[in-house]
Symmetry: C2
Subunit: 766 residues, 2 copies
């Protein structure tokens, strides 16, 4: 029996816990990691199998690839499902026998400190990961609290036991990435340090503290950097790395020896902090004062069991696995980013104190405003959702630019992707009744973010009503996304009685029209002189073109705030449907996107692996043809998700891909956050009960669910026929039952009437 | 009339203030700077004339060389008189007309933003510096508080006014020195930032805040680094440096425009902090809330007037200038290193809070334990001296190595030079009655520092009684200096009744004997096997040899704790005198030290420009021949000091060279700090009155002082003949008068008796 797999599930109702397979997404395009994390935990402790030069790093954004057979070590910070990457901080590797200081070539066994492993020896559960390191005969187990990673290494008998700590490694490797680092062995055996990196985030400082369950019997602190222009004067012990108390430099690696651990178990506790080494120590002591690995693991299991209990699902095993793994992947970010004393580092790289909220970071907002945040509003306590908003408001207060986060992690801004999508997250939260933040400050922050001229063509957008492509790249996408974001400001301002702001931004919400080319029926980029840029090819794709990670076929449906207006512009319902069909049914040479690693999961032009497509299948419903949405959803679910390591067709993007799956499985999707509408698609689960944060319960039942019954027939809300193809947030939060009867043939009349479709709300401009 | 020279001296007694010439030491070997600083101020705001590659930087250790004719700008941190260097943080240059971003080649006018200047246009006074930048026609004036530098720029009419801020420059320039930096223009016009450097101190973080008296009408933030491996995503305004709100990188330079300053005065206030940008702002607001340059200058003048009033001197003008400039140079370090809220960064690079003391840093202890700290005990309030000790104790508490500072600045340890000379500073303070620190903790820290094995051969020293040269460089010097330091521990332990410690370290104090070679009469380096290293050449000199910055001729007199023992070993008084004469009278080829830039000020082998020689002339008195000391002192004073820019024959070393001059001018010198004895040499001033920190007054009078009367005749202490060649600390602190009658011929009998000589105290081993 494999050590560590001995903790049994609690008795009683079957928990989602056992259905989670953290390996899903670790192959293929998902970029998830299999390691140990608690819900929204600051620590993501996970094995890294390969560290690539940046140009080759895309597939290893989460450190671990299921197809690899070598583990380099276990590092403490990971993104779940990003395209771009960073992190991989403080890598530990247990070693039995001779210590090698270089990680070597993972394709050459014995060339470095890495070790081979087999999937048969791996166990991955929420909050727990275990593997046997074959080159050393070491069983390594990982678990975590919010801010502490706990390692349990079982060393073989007869060989010296060591732990290597490598501060040189990162997800993306390149010269000069580590700006500075420090490692110190304190008298009490605590190891502390810091790593400052120039990565995706600039000048990121990551402090850590580490304690071992057995005394350090020896140590060696090494700086492997060569050709240092000036080394300063030698520190005590410089002649012998075993006598050094501290080391500073840009390429640090240390080996710690444990004479008493040979043939025994050694526990290592590692905490991180953005504030200081002292704070890292405080985090360590606050969360894991003792040396009971199983207690930490059990607590992590309890946290996950509770978090996953937000939705109770009856479904076949594979569907359960796919569903609960998706739900698991939605409960990781935005992650806690605050020390036990409430301090954290902000986008000004200064230390701040959280007052009255728990500060979170890792906001992948271009992705997550779509479905992840709306999902978390339904499955997480209101407090957590308020924390997200308060964290973004704090970011804005600390920002040198005075605006809300765009793509931030570890408190710092990366300026990745486009739009100001903190705005729809806040508006959606407010409009859904979340009140644990200062709405006045929030609205002010939203307006400030939407008015900051130097940001991505925003000055020109405010001047012209669109972003001119001759002055700013990806102008078509930016115009469209700004207009949607503006609409959410108008919606929130209206709800707050701020009619002045509502009027201004309601007008701006109509700016999507400046991108619409009536002649071709596509959204296009206009130049300052008002002309569309030519030549125009709707299939042309590339980074930094007129569109963001896409082309005209993919971006021309981005008017979630005014689909009715889009339909009008296109020439009516049939025009939309026909054009959507052209998207899905196109014969597309996949080679067209070979140079765009983010564009994956192709069905025709539809790219489920990237976010601009996520709402598209639901648009048929706006044209009165919800049965076409039902068809497309089955097409997507069948082809883009599978309960296998390569079962995610695109980057999970901190849970957005998975949130799409969770919503779609339940039978509805938030096409336009800010509207409080969920567009009904079709359910993929026989029965799912949502335990809502207000204590109510909303159940979705799909009678007759079967591959032979792919269409929705009767729809009952609380026993009464529901004639429209959307439900509202208020209806869900009131609790109750949404019952579908699935059938073989399409019901082409249900919700086809003008009044029965999802609709655009006031403030949509025009 | 030159602007800014209008502030008159206060009425009344003539102050030392007017006799200070800050240019002394800025040429030749002194390495002092002429800029604005207050006593022990954290800011040293001074012009930099040339920034050299490290290999050529020795002469520019303080940034300014009197022989240069070009100013690059004004930076805010400088060392006074070091050999090695660093600092030069946050360089400002006012510009009228076109902005150049590169400093250019100072030998080519117009090749960069530097400007020519003339000494005729310079004014330098304590706390004030002014110059005209000829290339721009700008009058630039500088003054300072403890933590704030204030610039006043008078711009010519008709040209755009700018201020350039260069974060790329340092005293020593080399690739990779700046690890990271940041600059931010805040909405209120405050500029803040940080610079992290890998210099003499590793990973030093220097935060700053800057405010202008006129609105910033435009700005441009530039990063001039090329070939960045990975730049991250573009920040808002990246296309136009004038739209950037913040910039981060390794080569930052910014230009700020002031439309309203053309033909007008612009004030710039700049503060620094080791803690954070917010703390830098707080320092700025606490110390210089308004915009009155003259008020700051007047306050600086008042601080200096008070500090210099510790000694009132009647002497010819040149002697006054030399004396008060020397005293001025002794009142700069250890300098304040703590923000207005009491926080500072320590040797663990963490932020700490000073409780009950003001934290100081810049401890050049190998130099300053000799005469600077003993002088400050006499001329500064007891509180300041307690602060020094408390700062060193804090350093030890924060040190990853658990030991007292060796050579620290800006809170960080540089490990420069040898010995653990914080120990004699603390012991001397304690033995002289300074009590504002925890003596128990201090003794513990001293013992810990003297027992830390990995430090510079200390493990072997504790094992063998000497540092073995085959295992550790400069072993002869280290053995000698450790033994002296050990003696001071014994002295303090004895005074505290800790006889156990006194016995241990009293024994160690005798370890100098292990270095003494009876055969050659020199101190030599022994190998582990007990043999002296051969071949032996007492003239052999070089860095990293058997001696520290010297040779056997220079180091063989380093037994301040047991000169009597040394005399015995050499074979008696005559042997010592004869050997000392060989030192001074040798014919030495100066080329011998061409490769050792620190060895300067040669008189034979005697090198007054470096510290190991500083006590040597006083040793004749121990052999009962004080008249020979009198001769040598005149020889040294006449040849090594002059009131001219090149008037210091060696690096001032944070005031040690100057402290030697102050003591020697007064007529006595602390050969063995820890003994409470001052060895009487001969006075060089007709009359000097010390206003002691206890409120008493001790006056030294030299009747008949004249070049024709170079010898001491009668010596009266408080009117009674003083028969011995030393006075005690207690005698000085009691107040009174020491009166010398100078005469033409040597008095060869005075203080020649065994009981009349300075003597070694108990605990000197044996």
């Amino acid at each position: 029996m494999i050590a560590g797999s001995a903790i049994a599930a609690p008795a009683g109702a079957r928990s989602g816990f056992d259905s989670v397979d953290p390996f899903i997404g670790t192959g293929g395009e998902g970029h998830t990691f299999p390691g140990a994390v608690v819900p929204f935990g600051m620590i993501q402790l996970s094995p890294d199998t390969r560290i690539q030069p940046r140009k080759d790093a895309y597939d290893w954004a989460a450190g671990y690839r299921y197809n690899d057979s070598t583990i380099i070590g276990f590092s403490h910070t990971h993104f779940s499902g990003t395209g771009h990457s960073d992190l991989g901080d403080v890598l530990l590797m247990p070693i039995a026998g001779e210590v090698k200081l270089e990680r070597g070539d993972v394709d050459k066994p014995g060339s470095g400190y890495h070790s081979r492993f087999k999937h048969d020896d791996e166990v991955a559960q929420p909050g727990y990961y275990a593997v046997t390191l074959d080159d050393y005969g070491i069983r390594a187990e990982l678990t975590a609290t919010e801010r502490v990673g706990v390692h349990r290494y079982t060393f073989p008998a007869g060989k010296p036991a060591h732990v290597l700590v490598d501060l040189r490694t990162s997800m993306y490797d390149y010269a000069g990435k580590t700006l500075w680092s420090r490692m110190r062995l304190r008298e009490d055996g605590t190891v502390t340090g810091v790593r400052e990196t120039r990565g995706w985030a600039p000048g990121r400082q990551l402090y850590f503290a580490m304690r071992f369950s057995q005394p350090v019997s020896g140590h060696a602190l090494h700086d492997t950097e060569e050709d240092i222009a000036y080394k300063g004067f030698p520190t005590p012990g410089h002649q012998d790395p075993r006598q050094r108390a501290q080391i500073e430099g840009r390429e640090l690696v240390a080996a710690f020896d444990f004479d008493d651990a040979t043939g025994e178990q050694l526990l290592v506790k590692v905490s991180i902090s953005s504030v200081s080494e002292d704070n890292a120590i405080a985090n360590l002591e606050a969360e894991v004062p003792g040396w009971n690995f199983d207690r930490v693991r059990t607590a992590a299991r309890a946290s996950w069991t509770e978090a996953l209990s937000a939705i109770e699902v009856d479904a076949p095993e594979d569907d359960r696995t796919a569903f609960y793994t998706a739900l698991y992947h939605t409960l990781m970010a935005p992650s806690l980013f605050m020390d036990s004393d409430g301090r954290y580092r902000g986008p000004d790289n200064a230390v701040h104190q959280a007052e009255g909220f728990r500060h979170h970071s890792t906001f992948s907002l271009w992705d997550t405003y779509r479905a992840l945040h709306p999902l978390l509003t339904l499955v997480q306590p209101e407090q957590r959702n308020s924390d997200f908003v308060n964290s973004m408001l704090a970011h804005r207060r600390h920002s040198p630019y005075g605006i809300l986060p765009v793509w931030s992690f570890h408190g710092l801004e990366t300026w990745t992707m486009v739009g100001y999508h903190a705005v729809p997250v806040i508006a959606d939260a407010y409009l859904k009744g979340i009140r644990g933040f200062d709405a006045g400050e929030a609205l002010q922050a939203m307006v400030a973010s939407a008015s900051y001229g130097p940001y991505d063509g925003l000055a020109q957008y405010m001047e012209l009503g669109y972003v001119p492509i001759d002055e700013e790249g990806e102008a078509a996408s930016k115009t469209l996304e700004y207009a949607y974001d503006d609409w959410t400001i108008a919606r929130m301002a209206e709800a707050m009685g701020r009619d002045d702001i509502a009027a201004t931004f309601g007008k701006r919400a109509g700016n999507w029209r400046h991108a619409f080319d009536a002649e071709t029926g596509f959204m296009r980029a206009r130049k300052r002189d008002g002309e569309f840029r030519t030549p125009f090819d709707p299939s042309a794709s590339g980074y930094g073109t007129d569109y963001t990670e896409g082309n005209a076929w993919q971006y021309s449906w981005y008017v979630p705030q005014d689909v009715a207006g889009l339909i009008d512009s296109l020439g009516g319902d049939d025009a939309l449907v026909s054009k959507l069909d052209q998207v899905f049914d196109a014969e597309v040479d996949p080679g067209l996107f070979e140079h765009m690693e983010d564009i994956t999961g192709l069905i025709g032009w539809y790219a489920h692996g990237n976010e601009p497509s996520h709402h598209v299948a639901y648009l048929y419903a706006y044209a009165g043809e919800p049965w076409r949405t039902q068809e497309r959803l089955k097409q997507i679910v069948d082809s883009q998700y599978a309960p296998r390591p390569d079962g995610l067709s695109g980057n999970d993007d901190l849970g957005q891909m998975s949130a799409w799956y969770v919503f779609t499985s339940l039978g509805f999707y938030p096409v336009a956050p800010g509207s409080n509408q969920y567009v009904i698609g079709r359910p993929f689960l026989p029965r799912a009960a949502m335990n809502l944060p207000n204590g109510k319960r909303f159940t979705v039942v799909a009678d007759g669910l079967d591959d032979a019954n792919p269409y929705v027939g009767a729809v009952l809300l609380n026993g009464k026929p529901l004639e429209r193809s959307y439900i509202t947030h208020e209806e869900i939060m009131a609790g109750g039952e949404l019952r579908f009867t699935m059938q073989t043939g399409a019901d082409t009349t249900w919700a086809s009437g003008a009044e029965q479709r999802p609709y655009s709300m006031s403030g949509a401009g025009g």
